[in-house]
C-alpha cells in the first residue's frame, strides 16, 4: 500500500494546465504579525519529534549500519554494496527493477492518456472513470489475490488462460494428439514426414485410405471416440484414421480390428502436386471423406498440427512471464490515477486553440499530436515521474502474486530488502545497504521536488 498512496504525495512537477498555474503563492507573508518563535516551536514539536525519530534518524542509522556485517559488529566498509552488485540474486532484482522502470511508467502513462481522450467521447464517462479508478482504493494485497486468480495456469480456473485458449481455439482447431505417430515398418501404408503423416502411395477415389496411428495417450483419447469402421469403397476419396492398437493384445497391425477406436477430430488434407486440394476432419469413428474432389491421385496428409498438444494458454506465474504478469496487475491498479490526472489536464486546455486548428483544416490526429499532447506534457511528466517512483518501490504486488517458487525470478529491490533483513535472510547489514540503494534511486526525484518547490514558492 505504501508505494501506492505515496504516489500522489509527490509533487514532482508543476502544473496541470498551463494558463492557470501562474498566480503562485507570493507576497504577503512578510506582513504577517507573528507570534513568538516559542509558540511556533510548540506547534511544530510533535511533528518534528516523529519525523526526527522515525524518519531522519533512521536514514543516518542506515548509512552506518550498511557498513557493518550481518551481526552488526564487524566493519565491512562498502562490502555490502559490493555484494549488491556481485551477487546473482540481487543482480536479478536490479535487472527486474530496470524492466519495471522502463516498461511500467510508459504503459501506465500511455493508457492513462488514451483513456482520458476516449472518455471525452462517451456519455457514460463518469461510470467508466469510476470503474478504472476503483482499484486505487483497494489494497495491493487484495489486488494481488485478484490477479493470482486471474493468472491461474489451468484454463478451467484462470481467466487469462481461459480467454487465450478460447480465442486460440476459435482460430485453429486442433484436437491435439501429442506423441501419437504413424505405425512404422514396411507394411505400414503411412509414414512420418516432418511431423506430418502422409500416405506412402498416392490414393485415389474408390480406394479407402488406411491411416494407422499408434502412441496415443489413453487419457487424450476423446470420450466420444467410436470403434473404427473399415471404410467402404465409396465414390469419393475416403478413409479411416484410427488407433491401431487392440487393448489387451491381439489384432492385426495396419488393419482395422473390431475393438480399435477411431481418432476423431483429426484434420486430413488431400494433397496434389504440393497443393492442398481439400481438407476434411475425421468423424467419431475416425472416418473421413473428401466431397467434390476432382478425380485423380492424391497424397493424403495429416498435418503436424494434429500432433501438437492442445493449447493451454501461457504460464503467467512461471519464471519467464512473472514480471510482465505482475506489471499487468500494476497497470490495472494505476491506470485510473493516470487517467484522472490527465483528464484534468485535458479539461484545462483552452478549447479555442483546438477549435482554431480544426477550422484551419487540421485532422483530429494532427490536433492531438501537435496541440493536445504538447499542452499536456507537464501533466504527463507528473504522471510519469510518479510512476517511476512507484515502480522503484514496488513490493506488495510482487510479494503476493509471485508464488514462492518463482519469487527469486520476480524479485525486486524493495522485496529483497525485506527478505534479507526480516524474511529469513537475517542480514541487516545487507538490508541497510539495499535500503540506502533504494533511497539513492529516488534521490534525484527528491531533489527535483525541492528545486521545483523552491522556484515556485519563493
Amino acid at each position: 500500500m505504501t508505494e501506492r498512496l505515496d504516489g500522489p504525495q509527490d509533487p514532482p512537477a508543476d502544473v496541470a494546465g498551463g494558463p492557470s498555474t501562474g498566480p503562485a503563492e507570493t507576497p504577503q507573508r512578510k506582513r504577517r504579525l507573528g507570534p513568538s518563535p516559542a509558540v511556533a516551536i510548540a506547534f511544530l514539536l510533535p511533528a518534528a519529534l516523529l519525523l526526527g525519530i522515525w524518519v531522519i534518524y533512521p536514514i543516518v542509522y542506515s548509512v552506518f549500519r550498511s557498513l557493518f556485517d550481518a551481526t552488526g559488529t564487524g566493519f565491512v566498509g562498502l562490502g555490502n554494496y559490493t555484494t549488491i552488485f556481485s551477487d546473482a540474486g540481487t543482480l536479478t532484482t536490479i535487472r527486474n527493477n530496470l524492466i519495471w522502470v522502463v516498461v511500467a511508467p510508459i504503459v501506465v502513462t500511455t493508457i492513462g492518456l488514451i483513456f482520458a481522450v476516449l472518455t471525452e467521447r462517451i456519455r457514460w464517462a463518469t461510470a467508466f472513470k469510476l470503474i478504472v479508478f476503483m482499484p486505487m482504493a483497494v489494497s495491493l494485497m487484495a489486488a494481488g489475490v485478484i490477479f493470482r486468480l486471474v493468472y491461474e495456469e489451468s484454463p478451467d480456473k484462470g481467466l487469462a488462460n481461459a480467454v487465450l485458449t478460447t480465442v486460440h481455439d476459435t482460430f485453429s482447431s486442433s484436437q491435439g494428439y501429442p506423441e501419437a505417430r504413424p505405425r512404422g515398418g514396411d507394411q505400414s501404408p503411412v509414414a512420418d514426414q516432418g511431423g506430418a503423416v502422409v500416405t506412402k502411395q498416392p490414393a485415389q477415389a474408390g480406394q479407402p485410405v488406411l491411416v494407422p496411428i499408434v502412441g496415443v495417450k489413453p487419457e487424450l483419447l476423446p470420450g466420444d471416440a467410436q470403434p473404427a469402421k473399415a471404410p467402404a469403397a465409396g465414390d469419393g476419396l475416403s478413409g479411416t484414421v484410427w488407433f491401431d492398437f487392440t487393448p489387451g493384445g491381439g489384432g492385426t497391425n495396419n488393419a482395422v480390428d473390431g475393438a480399435e477406436k477411431g481418432l476423431p477430430g483429426m484434420t486430413v488434407e488431400a494433397v496434389r502436386d504440393g497443393q492442398v486440394a481439400a481438407t476434411a476432419t475425421t468423424a467419431e469413428d475416425g472416418s473421413f471423406s473428401f466431397a467434390g474432389l476432382p478425380a485423380g491421385s492424391y497424397v493424403v496428409r495429416l498435418p503436424a498440427s494434429n500432433f501438437e498438444a492442445a493449447y493451454g494458454g501461457l504460464s503467467w506465474l512461471g519464471p519467464t512471464l512473472i514480471t510482465p504478469a505482475i506489471i499487468g496487475a500494476f497497470v490495472w491498479v494505476w491506470a485510473g490515477f493516470a487517467m484522472v490526472l490527465i483528464a484534468a489536464g485535458l479539461a484545462a486546455i483552452p478549447r479555442d486553440a483546438l477549435e482554431a486548428a480544426r477550422i484551419d483544416g487540421a485532422t483530429e490526429w494532427q490536433v492531438f499530436r501537435r496541440i493536445t499532447v504538447p499542452l499536456l506534457s507537464p501533466v504527463l511528466l507528473v504522471v510519469f515521474v510518479t510512476m517511476i517512483i512507484n515502480t522503484l518501490k514496488v513490493f506488495d504486488l510482487v510479494f503476493i502474486i509471485a508464488p514462492a517458487s518463482v519469487q527469486p525470478q520476480a524479485n525486486v529491490v524493495a522485496l529483497e530488502m525485506w527478505r534479507v533483513s526480516f524474511g529469513g535472510g537475517n542480514n541487516q547489514g545487507l538490508g541497510s545497504a539495499l535500503a540506502i540503494f533504494l533511497l539513492i534511486l529516488v534521490l534525484p526525484f527528491m531533489i527535483m521536488n525541492i528545486r521545483r518547490f523552491r522556484r515556485e514558492d519563493t
Binding site: 504525495q9 498566480p23 525519530i53 489475490v145 479539461a347 524493495a414 527528491m446
Partner: protein, 324 residues
C-alpha cells in the same frame, strides 16, 4: 457522486474568500479550477459532436470492453469467494452464469470464527488512531509553516518536501532496533507511530499549501482581538481547512488500511491487521482460496464504500498532492 470525478479540475475547495483577498494567495489545487470549469461548456462543440457521430460506435464498443477488463477481475474475486473450495477447484468462476445455485456465503461464515475477525479489528485499531493523529499533528505543523514566522522555517519546510518520497524501507531496520530497545516491538502502538511519522510529510505539505490560501485578514483580525494562537488554530484555521482535511483523512485512512509492509515487520501475530493475516495464508494459495478470496473481499469493502462516498475528496487530495 457523478459530478466531482467528472471535473477533477475543481479546487480542493478553498475557504470562501480565498480569491477575494486580492493577493493571489491561492492554494495549489485551486489554481486549476477556473480553467476546468470554463472548459466545460464549449466542449460539446460542433467538431466534438461530429467526431462523436463518426467514431462513436467503435469507441463505445472499445470502452465497454475496457470497462469490463477493469471490472471483471474484481467480480471474479467476489464469485470465487462465494463458492465452495470443491467447486472452485473444479471449474472457473464464470460457470456461475449457468449454475447460480452454487453461490453460498459459507466461506464468509467460516471466516467469522477464524483469526480473520481479530485481524479485522486490529486493522481498525491501527487505522483510526493513525488517521486522527496524522490530521491533528500535521494541521498544527502546517499552521506554523503557513502563518508563523520563525527562523529556518523555509528550510525546514523544504526538508518536509524532500521527505515526501523517502522509501519506508529505510526506516524498517533502525526502527525495529529502537522498538526492540523500548520493548515496543510487535505492538499496535509501534505500528501506529510508524504510520503517523511516514504520513506526516504528505499531510503537512497538503495542509500547509491549503492553509496559506486562507485570507490573512481573518487571522489578523483574530490576532488583533488578542486570540491565542491555539484559539486561532482551533476555531479559525482548522474549521476553514475542512475540505483539505477531508481529502487528507481519506487518503491517510486508505493508506494505512491497505498497508502490508509495515504490518509485516512491526505487528506480531496477536496484533496483525488483515493484510498480514491474509498474507500468512498465501503460502498454500490453492487450498486456502476460500479464506483468501472472502478475506480479501471483506478487506476491500470498507475502502470501496469510502471511495464511492468521498471520491470527490479522494480525487482532490490526489490532485493537490501531484499537480503542483
Amino acid at each position: 457522486m457523478s459530478e466531482p470525478i467528472d471535473r477533477p479540475g475543481t479546487p480542493v475547495a478553498q475557504p470562501d474568500a480565498a480569491g477575494s483577498d486580492g493577493e493571489g494567495h491561492v492554494s495549489t489545487a485551486t489554481a486549476a479550477a477556473p480553467a476546468g470549469t470554463k472548459a466545460g461548456a464549449p466542449r460539446r462543440g460542433l467538431a466534438g459532436r461530429l467526431v462523436d457521430r463518426l467514431g462513436g460506435g467503435a469507441v463505445q464498443v472499445v470502452m465497454v470492453l475496457l470497462g469490463l477488463f477493469w471490472l471483471v477481475p474484481t467480480l471474479g474475486l467476489l464469485v470465487v469467494s462465494m463458492r465452495t473450495s470443491e467447486v472452485n477447484n473444479a471449474e472457473g468462476w464464470w460457470t456461475i452464469f449457468t449454475k447460480p445455485a452454487e453461490l453460498t456465503i459459507g466461506n464468509y461464515a467460516n471466516l467469522l470464527g477464524s483469526g480473520f475477525t481479530a485481524s479485522f479489528w486490529n486493522t481498525v485499531l491501527i487505522t483510526v488512531p493513525t488517521t486522527v493523529l496524522v490530521i491533528g499533528i500535521a494541521a498544527m505543523a502546517a499552521y506554523a509553516f503557513a502563518w508563523m514566522d520563525f527562523r529556518g522555517r523555509d528550510t525546514a519546510f523544504l526538508v518536509v518536501v524532500g521527505l515526501l518520497i523517502v522509501p519506508i524501507q529505510i526506516a524498517l531496520i533502525p526502527v525495529a532496533s529502537l522498538y526492540g530497545a523500548a520493548d515496543m516491538f510487535g505492538s499496535i502502538a509501534g505500528v501506529v507511530l510508524f504510520h503517523v511519522a511516514f504520513g506526516l510529510p504528505f499531510a503537512i505539505f497538503l495542509l500547509r499549501n491549503f492553509f496559506v490560501g486562507i485570507p490573512s485578514s481573518l487571522l489578523e483580525a483574530a490576532r488583533m482581538d488578542g486570540a491565542s494562537e491555539w484559539k486561532i488554530f482551533a476555531s479559525v484555521v482548522f474549521p476553514l481547512g475542512k475540505p483539505a482535511i477531508a481529502s487528507l483523512g481519506i487518503f491517510q485512512f486508505l493508506w494505512v488500511w491497505n498497508d502490508m509492509l509495515i504490518a509485516l515487520v512491526f505487528a506480531d501475530t496477536g496484533n496483525q491487521p488483515m493484510t498480514k493475516y491474509l498474507q500468512s495464508q498465501m503460502r498454500q494459495f490453492g487450498s486456502n482460496v476460500d479464506i483468501l478470496s472472502s478475506g480479501a473481499f471483506l478487506s476491500l469493502i470498507i475502502p470501496l464504500v469510502l471511495f464511492f462516498a468521498f471520491q470527490r475528496y479522494f480525487v482532490q487530495g490526489m490532485m493537490a498532492g501531484s499537480v503542483k
